[in-house]
Symmetry: C2
DNA sequence: AAACTATATTGACAATCATCAATATAGTGC
DNA sequence: GCACTATATTGATGATTGTCAATATAGTTT
């Protein structure tokens, strides 16, 4: 008898309505970290910048990007600044020009974090 | 003689200052598509939702997520709506409850787009 | 039918962000 | 030094976004 409990009663006992959740594999701080990586990638201009840098290793200056993309120079510098401060790209000054390259270790580390997450989600 | 050209002159001839850019491997429309995928992932709450859904396949209702995350129910429904409208998760109504699951084909397609891009960037 | 419950939607608000114009910085060449 | 060039920074603006309170919808239980 009386073994029936309402949803509200079960909630007050700390129970779930549908499932006893397993240990989560992604804590809040890891989620924050991963979302930082993803936010940095989640812009079409920055994706194209990375593509151009990768296709022309060690040779791309800001004016090349300006010629290749439909945005003005300050905006390109803005995106490069975000990528640079996150460590994903490096600059080498040569006279007036600034040559940008992808920072391999940082890029590979971010890619690995992302790959690991996506693999855990659906093996 | 006279073979010296200014940067401005070279730009008017359509030349680049530093590099003759190779064909780009990521066009604007592909960049838009990819950034849509990435924007959807680039939120710590949505990452944790996906993690919980993956760890408890076919059993997670909204109230479970509400119990597991530090945000209120309308916000959870908001994030689930974004994932649902993008096709990444599916709902199955069971009485009052709504059970969410990751939509495997859509998730794998997005993951593959992302993996392919990251692989092209730095092989 | 009436009370209750789980979820979805709407509207408002604050925060973040992409973009550009204007300006600053720093190197080059006369 | 002076004119010029490439890049960075600052400040402003419009758009997007995450969050919540309030409300709506729909299923359940008595």
């Amino acid at each position: 008898m009386g073994a029936t409990t309402t949803q509200a009663q079960r909630r007050m006992l700390g129970e779930r309505c549908c499932v006893e959740p397993e240990a989560r594999r992604l804590g809040p701080s890891q989620a924050d970290r991963l979302s930082e990586d993803l936010k940095l990638l989640a812009d079409p201009v920055r994706l194209q910048i990375l593509d151009i840098l990768a296709a022309n290793p060690g040779q791309v200056c800001v004016c090349d990007l300006e010629a290749a993309l439909p945005i003005l120079q300050p905006t390109i510098s803005h995106h490069l600044g975000l990528l640079r401060r996150a460590g994903w790209v490096s600059v080498e000054r040569k006279g007036l020009w600034a040559h940008y390259t992808i920072n391999r270790p940082a890029f590979e580390a971010g890619r690995e974090r992302l790959r690991a997450f996506l693999e855990v989600i659906l093996p």
